[in-house]
Amino acid sequence: MKEPDPIVFVIDDDRMIREGLQSLIRSVGLRVETFASARDFQAAKRPDAPACLILDVRMPDVSGLDLQRQLNEANIHIPVIFITGHGDIPMSVRAMKEGAQEFLTKPVRGQDLLDAVQKAVERDRGQRKTRAEFEELRARFDSLTPREKEVLDLVVAGLLNKQIADELGMSELTVKTHRAHVMEKTSADSLAHLVRISEKLKTSLQK
C-alpha cells in the first residue's frame, strides 16, 4: 500500500499571508490547504495523509492556542507550527507544553518554515506508522477467539503445553491446535516474536 502524499494545513485570518504561505509550500511540491479560521478547519474533512498544521496564534474568535488544545482533547495528533506576530515567552512555553512542533515569529523566513514543515511531516509520518502498526496488531489480536486469547496469555507467561492443558482443562492436542492458530493469526514466526507482539499490545493498551 503506497502512502498518500503529505498535506500542510495553513490557518491564518490574513488572506495575503495565507496565500503567500500556500504558494511557498506548493513551490516545494507539497499539498496545501488553507483556512481562514480555526472553525473552518474543524468543519473541513481532512484527508488521511501525513500532515502538519501552520497556525497563527493571534486570530479572532478561536485563537491558535485554543485550537491546539481542542485538537489535543479530541485526540487528534497533528504536529503544529505556530506563527506569531508578537511571540512572547509565556505563550511559546504554553504552546510547547501542549506539544507544538515549532514556534516562529512573523515575518517568518521561508527556509525556516519549510524546514519546520519538513520535520513536522516526518514526525507525523512516524506517528502514523506507529499508529498503523498498532492498529494492525490490534486487529490481529481481536481476530482471536476467547479460547485462543487464554492460550496466548499462558504461552506468553512461559507455560508448557502440558501445563496449559491442565490449567484450561483441555487435552494437550487441543492446546497445540489453538497455539498454531494464534501463531498464524498474529503472524508471529517464533515464540520470542509472539512475546514481543504481546508486550507491544499490552503497553499500547495501557497508554
Binding site: 490574513d14 495575503m16 499571508i17 496565500e19 503567500g20 504561505l21 504558494s23 511557498l24 506548493r26 513551490s27 516545494v28 493571534r58 506563527i83 506576530g85 508578537h86 512573523k106 515575518p107 517568518v108 523566513r109 521561508g110 527556509q111 518554515l113
Partner: protein, 399 residues
C-alpha cells in the same frame, strides 16, 4: 542704688553688724568734730546713720545702730555730757529722740520689706514670663516643623505626580506602539512569505513564471497595505492639527517654567531668566511650544541632579535675532553630553537615562521644525549644555 543694696544685703551677717557699728562711729565722730561749729548737729547725724544702717544692713544691725546711738547720745550729748546721768528737763527731749530713732528704724525697715517683696514678685513674674516665652517658642518651632514636613510631603507628591504622568504617557505610547507594530508587521509578514515563494518558484529548474508573478503581485499588495497603515497613522496624528496663533514668547516661557518650579526646587536648581523685552510675537501653537520648553527645562534640571561641585543653575534667555527671528536658549550647568551621544541626541528612542524614553528631543525638534524654526544643542562634558531654538516672527509667511 539697687545694685548697692543688693550687694550689702548679700554680705555675711558679721560684716553687716560691723558696717552698722562703723556708721554709728562715723556719726559720733562727725557730731563731736562739728559740735562747736554747727551747734550740736548729733540729732541730724544719728538718725541718718540709723536710716542708712537699717536700709543697707538689714533689721538686726538697724536695731543695734538704734541702741548704740541712743546710748552714745545719752553719754556724749545729753547734759551733763560724758556721763549717763540726765537732767530732768532733758528727759522729754531724750525720749522723743529715742522714739524718733525707733520710728525711723521701723519705717525704713517696713519700706525695705515692701521693696523686697515687690522685687521678689517682679523676679517671679520675670521667671513666669520666661517660661511662657519658652513654651511659645517651642510651639512655634513645632509649627515650623509641621510646615517643613508639609512642604516635603508636597514635594514628594509633586514628584509622584510627575512620575505617574510619565508612566501613563509611556503606557499609552507602549500600547499604541504594539498596535501599530502589529498593523505594520502583518503586511510585512505577507510580503516576506510571498517574496520567499516568488524566489522559490523562480529557482526551479524550469522557473514557474506565472506562480512567481502571482507571488510578486501579492508582495506589491502587502507593501501597499503597509504604507496605507502608515498613512492612516499619520492622518490620525494630524487630526490634532496645531493651532497657530500669535504668541508672546516671554510670557509663554514664564508660564511654562512655573510648571517646572517644583522640580527645580526639589533638585536644588535655581532658574535665572534673561528675557529680552523687545521680542516680536511668534506664530505658534502655544501648547506645542510649552511642550518643547518644558521638555528642555526638565532635561536641563535632570542633567544637573548629580552635580555637586558647582551651582546648579538653569539660565533661560530669549533674544531677538537679526532676521527678526526669536531665539530661546536654555543653558544648564549639568553633566553635559559626550560627543558620541551628541550625534544621536535627536534620534528617536535614543536615551542616556535609565528611565528615559528617548522621545522628548526628537518630538521637540519636529515641533520646532514644523513651525519653520531650528532646534540644536551644544555641550561640553562636565560643564553643561545649551539647547536653543529659533522661531520666525509672526510677519514671516508660514513654511
Amino acid at each position: 542704688m539697687q545694685a548697692a543694696h543688693a550687694a550689702a544685703s548679700t554680705l555675711p551677717a558679721v560684716w553687716r553688724y560691723l558696717l552698722a557699728t562703723a556708721l554709728v562711729a562715723a556719726a559720733l565722730f562727725l557730731s563731736l568734730v562739728l559740735q562747736d561749729a554747727f551747734g550740736n548737729p548729733f540729732w541730724f547725724f544719728f538718725p541718718v546713720v540709723v536710716i542708712a544702717a537699717t536700709w543697707y544692713c538689714g533689721k538686726g544691725p538697724g536695731w543695734v545702730s538704734v541702741g548704740v546711738s541712743t546710748v552714745l547720745v545719752l553719754y556724749y550729748f545729753i547734759p551733763p555730757t560724758r556721763s549717763f546721768n540726765i537732767k530732768p528737763r532733758d528727759i522729754p527731749f531724750f525720749f522723743v529722740f529715742a522714739a524718733c530713732q525707733v520710728v525711723s528704724n521701723r519705717l525704713v525697715s517696713w519700706r525695705r520689706e515692701t521693696e523686697d517683696s515687690l522685687r521678689r514678685a517682679r523676679d517671679e513674674l520675670g521667671i513666669r514670663v520666661a517660661e511662657r516665652t519658652a513654651e511659645l517658642k517651642q510651639a512655634n518651632e513645632a509649627l515650623l516643623d509641621r510646615i517643613e514636613e508639609q512642604k516635603r510631603t508636597q514635594d514628594a507628591l509633586l514628584v509622584t505626580r510627575t512620575e505617574l504622568t510619565r508612566v501613563a504617557r509611556i503606557t499609552t505610547i507602549g500600547e499604541l506602539t504594539a498596535s501599530i507594530a502589529h498593523e505594520v508587521n502583518q503586511p510585512l509578514a505577507a510580503v516576506v512569505a510571498n517574496g520567499d515563494a516568488c524566489v522559490a518558484w523562480l529557482s526551479h529548474s524550469t522557473p514557474n513564471l506565472s506562480e512567481a508573478r502571482a507571488a510578486a503581485e501579492r508582495m506589491i499588495q502587502g507593501a501597499t497595505r503597509a504604507s496605507e497603515v502608515i498613512v492612516r497613522i499619520r492622518s490620525l496624528i494630524n487630526k490634532a492639527t496645531p493651532e497657530r496663533t500669535p504668541v508672546e514668547m516671554n510670557k509663554t516661557i514664564e508660564e511654562t517654567v512655573a510648571l517646572a518650579n517644583g522640580q527645580a526646587l526639589a533638585n536644588g536648581v535655581s532658574i535665572v531668566f534673561d528675557l529680552s523685552p523687545d521680542l516680536p510675537a511668534v506664530r505658534a501653537d502655544r501648547i506645542q511650544l510649552q511642550q518643547v520648553i518644558l521638555n528642555l527645562v526638565m532635561n536641563g534640571i535632570e542633567a544637573m541632579t548629580s552635580v555637586t561641585d558647582r551651582p546648579r543653575q538653569l539660565l533661560i534667555r530669549s533674544q531677538r535675532e537679526k532676521a527678526g527671528e526669536v531665539r530661546v536658549s536654555i543653558e544648564d550647568t549639568g553633566i553635559g553630553v559626550s560627543a558620541d551621544a551628541m550625534g544621536r541626541l535627536f534620534e528617536p528612542f535614543y536615551t542616556t537615562r535609565p528611565q528615559g524614553m528617548g522621545m522628548g528631543l526628537p518630538i521637540s525638534r519636529s515641533i520646532i521644525e514644523a513651525h519653520g524654526g531650528r532646534l540644536w544643542a551644544e555641550s561640553a562634558l562636565s560643564q553643561g549644555s545649551v539647547f536653543q531654538f529659533t522661531l520666525p516672527n509672526e510677519d514671516r509667511p508660514e513654511p
